[in-house]
Amino acid sequence: MRTTAILVIVSLLSLVALMLPSILFLAGRMELATVKWVMLLATVVWFAAATPWMWKQTG
């Protein structure tokens, strides 16, 4: 139960990390190369953290 709660929080944070770079890029505060790396990292974290609890939820 506690693990699931942590995974949910981590996955939600990864979605924030996925979006934030594009907003910062639009505001001229981040380089495109950095945006791409952060988005990739956020993608890996999302699939790693969300799959266990979402898989169960849809199972």
């Binding site: 996925l18 594009s22 890029f25 791409k36 993608t43 898989w55 849809t58």
Partner: protein, 525 residues
């Protein structure tokens, strides 16, 4: 624009295929919100947005057309499809069988399966463009009809083959992956748009201090309107509005989503489709359109296209924005023999430019997770035609047909026309269901006539379907009406034909059986 990617609880309830969904299995509003949001953010959205740009759409026509068209689509789900679904609680196929008879439903299944195959083919095409970024083979151009390189054929075979095998073996697993990917995918699409806008602002040196500055940039630089690219149809406000409204016509007015909303507690849950419309068919389309506009503005084209510009000594003029890649300049470049056709719409490279590897993963996942249920459902439709065939073999065969279709870029590059055709082909049966449920008894006729009379082919419904399609084809072919506009009058034609033909069919051709069993059906209460 996609086939169903329903929540697990909906897809797994196959036990209600021939009976109303019981009250204990009804679902809440939230189930439908998530389903529609994920379902309508598909790989094909990455084609549709750019094709609007190639159609010379202006900023006002695009934004307002999408707002109005999507609102009409949501209303169609809420006021036409969901009220019938929550009253009958039957699948589309069972509802149709009661009205049309088993043989006519088989014909409908065949048409549905073929359209699903081509749609899945377009999704395979989209996914295969991602492989081009890695393997650098020649990819199809905007007006290409046939495969143009061995590399392209191999890429489509690989992607389509994988999708077909997975759909045949593990549909449920991919459906779960699709559910996990959905929230991520929606945000990646939005990120595409934000990054694309950021690139446009940087490249054009525009000064943006307010929303009105963004609107000015959109009107004057991003979507200026004007002529369409050579070989494309000009899109106005009306084109965008009708396209947004009718691109899922098979599902709302065509009543495919009876199978979904039969699980809804209330008919107003139809408004949940708004999440799909305004995330997928508004934000995602605008984001994808931005990506293509950026690509054109920055002259960030394929090596062959750049080489051709360089050979003609024009590359610098375009890169310094002394000249812009508008419809006029593209037409001139084609007339001068510099290019054979307008710059290609390739979702893989477009997504890679703005979001790197994440963009490529998004293109592959978006195409894969939506082609998977499309192929699976096409397989189910074909299996209904040949009931004794193995589901595995039919799904695999369907996937291979979709793969063959995906090799021909014409379907993806002409996706706007194909999607309009897809809705048109299945729409008349939606009109038949609507009339049969709400109106037919007011004319002294019987609803669910095939069930009552034991007919296996209700000729009134069959003729209403086919004659409507023939009239629509005649309007497009001989009267010059564009395909985007024939579905609306087509619905009224189908409805009127069904009533008129039912008078003849029920009173003259099968009167004895028809009159013997008059009265409302149990399902319609």
């Amino acid at each position: 624009m996609t086939a169903k990617q329903q929540p697990q609880e909906v897809t797994s309830s196959s036990e209600f295929e021939r009976e109303p969904v019981p009250a204990s299995r009804l679902l809440g509003f939230k189930s439908f919100i998530g389903m529609y949001a994920g379902e309508h953010t598909a790989g094909t959205e990455l084609m549709i947005g750019p094709l609007f740009v190639a159609a010379g759409v202006s900023a006002f026509d695009l934004i307002v057309g999408l707002i109005v068209g999507n609102a009409l689509a949501v209303l169609s789900w809420t006021l036409m499809c969901a009220p019938i679904a929550t009253r009958t609680r039957l699948t589309l196929y069972y509802q149709l069988e009661k009205i049309c008879g088993r043989h006519l439903v088989t014909l409908y299944n065949l048409a549905n399966g073929v359209m699903f195959c081509f749609l899945a083919g377009a999704m395979v095409t989209v996914s295969a463009t991602a492989l081009g970024v890695w393997f650098k083979f020649e990819m199809p151009g905007l007006n290409d009809l046939y495969p143009n390189s061995v590399g392209w054929v191999v890429a489509v075979l690989f992607v389509g083959g994988m999708i077909a095998v997975v759909a045949a073996y593990g549909y449920q697993t991919v459906a779960k992956i699709a559910n996990v990917a959905a929230p991520w995918m929606v945000l990646v699409f939005i990120a595409f748009g934000l990054i694309g806008l950021g690139q446009f602002i940087t490249a054009s040196n525009a000064k943006i201090d307010s929303v009105s500055d963004v609107w000015t940039l959109a009107k004057t630089t991003i979507w200026k309107g004007g002529d369409p690219f050579p070989g494309r149809t000009k899109f106005t406000f009306w084109h965008v509005m009708f396209f947004a409204w009718f691109c899922n016509m098979a599902m709302h007015i065509g009543m495919s989503d009876l199978s979904v909303f039969r699980f809804a507690r209330k008919s107003w849950y139809g408004v949940a489709s708004g999440t799909g419309m305004y995330l997928g068919h508004f934000l995602a389309w605008i984001a994808a359109a931005l990506l293509y506009s950026v690509q054109l503005y920055q002259v960030d084209l394929s090596p062959a296209e750049l080489q051709a510009l360089a050979s003609a000594g024009l590359l610098e003029e375009f890169q310094s924005h002394e000249m812009i890649l508008s419809a006029d300049t593209i037409r001139q470049l084609i007339a001068q023999g510099v290019w054979a056709q307008p710059p290609a719409v390739l979702p893989g490279p477009m997504a890679y430019r703005v979001a790197g590897l994440t963009g490529l993963i998004c293109v592959i996942v978006a195409g894969w997770t939506t082609a998977n249920p499309t192929i699976y459902r096409a397989g189910l439709a074909f299996q209904a035609v040949i009931p004794r065939s193995s589901r595995f073999r039919v799904t695999l065969g369907t996937g291979l047909v979709a793969t063959m279709a995906g090799m021909f870029p014409a379907i993806a590059m002409k996706l706007l026309d194909f999607v309009a055709l897809y809705g048109l082909v299945l729409m008349p049966m939606g009109a038949v269901i609507f009339v049969d449920f709400w109106l037919i008894r007011k004319f002294g006729l019987q609803s669910s006539f095939a069930e009552r009379s034991g007919a296996t082919f209700n000729w009134a419904a069959g003729a209403a379907w086919l004659v409507t399609l023939a009239i629509a084809w005649g309007l497009v072919e001989f009267a010059g009406v564009q395909i985007y506009f024939v579905s609306l009058p087509g619905w009224f034609v189908a409805a009127a034909l069904y009533i008129g033909l039912s008078v003849v069919y029920q009173r003259r051709i099968r009167p004895a059986i028809g009159q013997a069993e008059a009265g409302p059906t149990a399902a319609q209460g």
